[in-house]
C-alpha cells in the first residue's frame, strides 16, 4: 500500500523511518483533499445539470442559509485541518530535536558546492558519508548566500544561512546513495549544486572514517584534512593540484578541456584570452594571480562574473602553487594519460 501510493504520487525512495511517517501524513492529506474536492465538484456538477437554464424567463426561489449551514461550512474543514496539524507538528518538532547520541557533521554551503566536515577533521566536497542506522546531526551554515540543504529521500530540508548555524538530523535506515539538492536559489549554478548522500554499512563507515583520520584518503574525496599542518610539498605542481581541489577551483574550471562555469585550465598558460571588455590579455603568471585575487577585473568573453575573490584566502605560496599547476596542464600531457576528470569522486546520476 505504502509503495503503491508512493509511486502514484511520484515520491522518491524513503531512506528513513521519518520519511515513511511524513509520507503517511501525506497520504492522509491527499486522500482527504481528494474526497473533499470530489464532494464539492460532484455537488456542483449535479447542480449544473439539474438546474441548467431551460428558458430565458426562468425564475428562481430565494434561498437563504440557516446558521447550521455556515457552522458546518466552517467546522468541517477546520476539523480536518487541525487533525493534519496535530499529526504534522509533532513530526516537525521531532525533526528539530536531534537525539543526544547523534553524530555531528558540519555542512557548509558555498557557491556551488557542499562541504562536509567531521569533528575529527576529515572533510569532503559534495559527498556526505554517513553510517546506516545511526542518528546524524547536521550543523549547517553557508559561506556566501543562503543555500538550502535538501535530501528528498529523507524528506529533510534546512536552510544554510551565512553567519549562522542551523541544524537538522536524520537516521538513514539502510545503505544506499541519494541526491542532495540546494533548494534555495543561489545564483548561476544553483541547479548544478548537487551532492550525494552515501549511506554506508556502519562498520565500513568506521573504517572509512579511520582512514580519513590518517590523512591518506585525502585524495579519495579530493580534499585534504582541515586543520592539518601544511604538508611538506614534495612537488609544487602536486601542491597546486591539491589546493585547487581544496579551494573548489575545479568545480568551475575543468582540467580536461571541457567548457564549464569558468574557462578550462588546459593550455590556459600563455593563451591569448579575449575579454568581455573587448581587449585581450595573455594569461601569464600575473594575469592568473590577479584573476584569483580580483576575478571581476578581467572577465573572459563568454563567461559570467561569478567567481568569488580569493584575496586573503590563499597565501602567496599557495597562489603560486596553483599557477604552477595551471602551467603544467598542457594538451600533450593530458592526451598521454587517462583524463584527469574531477578530483572529487564522481556522482552517478540516476
Amino acid at each position: 500500500m505504502n509503495d503503491l501510493l508512493r509511486r502514484m504520487l511520484f515520491l522518491p525512495d524513503q531512506a528513513s523511518d521519518y520519511a515513511r511517517q511524513v509520507d503517511g501524513l501525506h497520504y492522509f492529506v491527499i486522500i482527504t483533499t481528494m474526497v473533499a474536492a470530489a464532494g464539492v465538484f460532484a455537488t456542483a456538477i449535479y447542480f449544473f445539470v439539474r438546474y441548467r437554464r431551460r428558458s430565458d424567463t426562468d425564475v428562481t426561489p430565494r434561498v437563504e442559509p440557516k446558521a447550521i449551514h455556515e457552522v458546518i461550512f466552517v467546522g468541517l474543514p477546520l476539523a480536518f485541518f487541525l487533525v493534519w496539524f496535530a499529526i504534522g507538528f509533532p513530526q516537525f518538532a521531532k525533526l528539530q530535536t536531534p537525539p543526544k547520541d547523534a553524530m555531528d557533521v558540519y555542512v557548509q554551503g558555498k557557491k556551488w558546492m557542499w562541504k562536509f566536515a567531521y569533528p575529527g577533521g576529515p572533510n569532503s566536497l559534495d559527498v556526505l558519508r554517513v553510517p546506516a542506522g545511526r542518528p546524524v546531526r547536521l550543523l549547517i551554515t553557508s559561506r556566501d548566500v543562503i543555500h538550502s540543504f535538501y535530501v528528498p529521500a529523507l524528506r529533510v530540508k534546512q536552510d544554510a544561512l551565512p553567519g549562522r548555524y542551523t541544524q537538522t538530523w536524520f537516521s538513514a535506515d539502510r545503505p544506499g546513495r541519494y541526491e542532495i539538492f540546494c533548494a534555495e536559489y543561489c545564483g548561476l549554478a544553483h541547479s548544478g549544486m548537487i551532492g550525494e548522500l552515501v549511506v554506508m554499512p556502519p562498520e565500513e563507515f568506521d573504517q572509512w572514517l579511520a582512514t580519513q583520520g590518517r590523512g591518506v584518503a585525502g585524495s579519495q574525496d579530493g580534499t585534504p584534512i582541515a586543520g592539518e599542518p601544511v604538508r611538506p610539498a614534495s612537488n609544487v605542481i602536486e601542491e597546486g593540484r591539491r589546493l585547487a581541489g581544496e579551494q573548489g577551483c575545479l568545480k568551475c574550471h575543468s582540467v580536461d578541456g571541457t567548457r564549464h562555469i569558468g574557462p578550462t585550465w588546459v593550455d590556459l598558460y600563455q593563451r591569448n584570452e579575449k575579454l568581455q571588455s573587448g581587449k585581450s590579455v595573455q594569461a601569464d603568471e600575473g594575469y592568473l594571480t590577479k584573476s584569483m585575487m580580483d576575478p571581476a577585473a578581467d572577465i573572459v568573453a563568454g563567461y559570467q562574473n561569478v567567481m568569488p575573490t580569493y584575496q586573503g584566502k590563499l597565501a602567496p605560496p599557495e597562489a603560486a602553487a596553483i599557477v604552477e599547476f595551471i602551467k603544467s596542464l598542457k594538451t600533450p600531457a593530458v592526451q598521454s594519460g587517462p583524463s584527469e576528470g574531477p578530483v572529487y569522486e564522481s556522482i552517478p546520476r540516476k
Binding site: V29, F48, P61, F85, S148, Y150, V156
Partner: protein, 554 residues
C-alpha cells in the same frame, strides 16, 4: 445575444464615456473619469500579462530538456525573475482592483466617480512610471534574484537589481493610492438605499483588498529601499558579512508578500461572487458569510507570513503558530467555496463563457487552497518547501484563481465596458483550452515537487524529464487558448454585435445604467430598494429597470 424582451432591443448608446467629452488621446491621458482610468489600467495590465506570459513560455521551453535547451543559465535566471516581477507587480496586483475595480466600484455604489479622481489618475501614472523604471532595469542588465529578492544574494549580485527594486517601490505607491480611494469611496459615496448590507460583494472584496494594500504595501516599500541601499552603498542591513541579518529580510518581505497573495486573490473572489449570481440567476447563498469572510481573509492574512520560513531556522514554536494561523485562511476560503456552490442550488444556470471560467476557478481554488493548507502542515512543508510543488500550488491560486477571474470579468463586463458582445462559441473554445492547458501545465509540477525537483532550476537530473515535457506541452495549449481569447476580443471591440444595456439580465447595480455607461455614470442619482444579488421570484417578476437611453438632441 438574443434579447428576450422587445424593450431590450440593443442600441449603441450614442453618448457614453468612450466618446464623451472627447475621443482624442489627450482626453484619455488627462481624464479623471474612473472608467477611462480603469480601462487604461486594464489595457496596460493585459499588455504586461502578455509579456509575462511570453517569459513563461520561454521558461517552459528551456525546461523541455535537461541541460541548456535554448539559453544559458544566466539568461534563464534573469528570465524567471522578470516573469515573476512582471506577473506579480505589473499584472496580478493591479489588474482586477485597479482595472475592474476602478471601472466598477463607483458604478456599483451608484456614485459619479471615486472619492479622489485626481489621485486616481496619479495612481495610473505612478503605475506606468514604476513599470518603466523596472523595465529599464530589466533591459539594462536584468536581475537574477527571483521576484523574492532574497538577501544576501540580492545585495551582492552583480546584476542590476536597484532599478527593479525602485520600480516596485513606485508601484507600491500606486497600489496604496488606489486602495485609499476605494476605502473612502465605499464609506462616503454609496447611493441612497445602499446600506452596508446592500454593498455588492464585489465591492466588499475590493474593500478588504484595499485595507491590505494600505497596511502592507509600506512595509514592502521600506524593505525594497533597504535592499537597494545595501546593494548600492554596501550598508550592513541584511548581509551578515557586513553585520546584517539575512532572515530579517524574509520576515519583512513576507509580511507584505503573503498578504499580497490576498491582494491578488480577494479581487478574484470579488469577480466570482458577481458571476456566480448572474449566471445562476440566484441570490447569493449567505451574503454576510461571503462578505465578512473577505474581511476575515484580509485580517488573518497578516498573521501567516511565517509559513514561508519553516526551514529558515525559525523556532519550532513559531512554525507551529504560523502553521495554525495559515489554516484559518483556508477556513475563510472554504466558506466562500461552499456558499458559491450552494448558490447554484435551485438556480437557473446559463453555461456562458464567464460561467465556464467560474467552473475553472472553483476547481483551481479548491486544489490550490487545499494544497495551501497542506503546505501549512509543517512536516509536509519541509519536503515541499522551494520545490515545484510550491510552484504548482501558488500558480493554482494565483493563475488558476486570479487569471480565471480576470478572464471571467473580461467576458462578463465586456458588454458593460465596450457596449459590444464577444462571440460566445469562441469564448467557450478559449475557456476550455485555457482550463485544460492550465491543468496539464501545473498538475505535473505538483508531482515534480513530490519527486523533489527544487524550483528555479535551470537544469535538472534526467529522472524529472518526462514530467517537465508534460508541463511544457500543457503550457503550449494554455498559451494557444489565451491567444484565441485575445484575438476574438480584439475583433469584438470593433465588430462585435451591439450588446444593449444589460445582456445578461443581471441584477448587479452596475447594469442599471447604459452600456457603455454615460460619462457621468447615471442620469440622476439612483435610489435602491433592493439588494444587488436579488434574483428571487418577487423581485424578478418585474424585470430590473434599465436606464433610459439618452435622448438625441434632434
Amino acid at each position: 445575444m438574443s434579447p428576450s424582451h422587445a424593450s431590450d432591443v440593443p442600441v449603441y448608446n450614442p453618448r457614453n464615456y468612450l466618446n464623451s467629452p472627447a475621443t482624442g488621446l489627450k482626453s484619455w491621458l488627462l481624464t479623471q473619469d474612473h472608467k477611462r482610468i480603469g480601462v487604461m489600467f486594464l489595457v496596460a495590465a493585459s499588455v504586461f500579462f502578455a509579456v509575462g506570459g511570453l517569459f513563461a513560455m520561454l521558461i517552459r521551453i528551456e525546461l523541455l530538456t535537461p541541460g541548456p535547451t535554448i539559453m544559458d543559465a544566466m539568461t534563464y535566471n534573469r528570465l524567471f525573475t522578470l516573469h515573476g516581477v512582471v506577473m506579480i507587480f505589473l499584472f496580478m496586483i493591479p489588474a482586477i482592483p485597479s482595472g475592474f475595480g476602478n471601472f466598477l466600484v463607483p458604478l456599483m455604489l451608484g456614485a459619479k466617480d471615486v472619492a479622489f479622481p485626481k489621485l486616481n489618475l496619479l495612481s495610473f501614472y505612478l503605475y506606468m512610471l514604476g513599470a518603466v523604471v523596472a523595465l529599464y532595469g530589466m533591459i539594462h542588465g536584468g536581475a537574477d534574484t527571483g521576484w523574492t529578492f532574497y538577501t544576501p544574494y540580492s545585495t551582492t549580485t552583480v546584476t542590476k537589481v536597484v532599478p527593479i527594486l525602485l520600480g516596485a517601490f513606485i508601484l507600491g505607491f500606486s497600489s496604496i493610492l488606489t486602495g485609499l480611494n476605494f476605502i473612502v469611496t465605499t464609506h462616503t459615496m454609496r447611493a441612497p438605499g445602499i446600506g452596508w448590507n446592500r454593498v455588492p460583494l464585489f465591492v466588499w472584496s475590493i474593500y478588504a483588498t484595499s485595507i491590505i494594500q494600505i497596511l502592507a504595501t509600506p512595509v514592502l516599500g521600506m524593505t525594497l529601499l533597504l535592499v537597494a541601499v545595501e546593494n548600492a552603498f554596501g550598508w550592513g542591513i541584511f548581509d551578515p558579512a557586513r553585520g546584517g541579518d539575512p532572515v530579517l529580510f524574509q520576515h519583512f518581505f513576507w509580511f507584505y508578500s503573503h498578504p499580497a497573495v490576498y491582494i491578488m486573490v480577494l479581487p478574484a473572489m470579488a469577480v466570482i461572487s458577481e458571476v456566480v449570481c448572474a449566471f445562476s440567476r440566484k441570490n447569493i447563498f449567505g451574503y454576510k458569510a461571503v462578505a465578512y469572510s473577505s474581511l476575515g481573509i484580509a485580517f488573518v492574512g497578516f498573521f501567516t507570513w511565517g509559513h514561508h520560513l519553516f526551514v529558515s531556522g525559525q523556532s519550532a514554536f513559531d512554525a507551529g503558530v504560523f502553521g495554525v494561523l495559515s489554516m484559518f485562511v483556508g477556513i475563510f476560503t472554504a466558506i466562500k467555496v461552499f456558499n458559491w456552490t450552494a448558490t447554484l442550488y435551485q438556480g437557473s444556470i446559463a453555461f456562458k463563457t464567464p460561467f465556464a471560467y467560474f467552473v475553472g476557478f472553483l476547481f483551481f481554488l479548491v486544489f490550490g487552497g487545499m494544497t495551501g493548507v497542506a503546505v501549512a502542515t509543517v512536516s509536509l512543508d519541509v519536503h515541499w518547501h522551494d520545490t515545484y510543488f510550491v510552484v504548482a500550488h501558488f500558480h493554482f491560486i494565483m493563475v488558476g484563481a486570479t487569471v480565471m477571474a480576470f478572464l471571467a470579468a473580461l467576458h462578463y463586463w465586456f458588454p458593460k465596458i465596450t457596449g459590444r458582445m464577444y462571440p460566445e462559441g469562441w469564448g467557450l473554445v478559449g475557456a476550455v483550452m485555457v482550463i485544460l492547458g492550465f491543468n496539464f501545465t501545473f498538475i505535473p509540477q505538483f508531482l515534480l515537487g513530490n519527486e523533489g525537483m527544487p524550483r528555479r532550476y535551470f537544469s535538472y537530473p534526467e529522472r524529472f524529464w518526462a514530467l517537465n515535457v508534460a508541463s511544457t506541452a500543457g503550457a503550449s495549449v494554455l498559451a494557444m487558448g489565451l491567444v484565441i481569447v485575445l484575438v476574438y476580443l480584439l475583433i469584438s471591440l470593433k465588430w462585435g454585435p451591439i450588446a444593449g444595456p444589460n445582456p445578461w439580465h443581471s441584477r448587479g447595480y452596475e447594469w442599471d445604467t447604459a452600456s457603455p455607461p454615460l460619462p457621468e455614470n447615471f442620469e440622476e442619482t439612483p435610489v435602491y430598494t433592493r439588494g444587488p444579488h436579488e434574483y428571487d421570484e418577487d423581485s424578478y417578476a418585474n424585470p430590473p429597470p434599465v436606464a433610459p437611453e439618452p435622448k438625441h438632441a434632434s
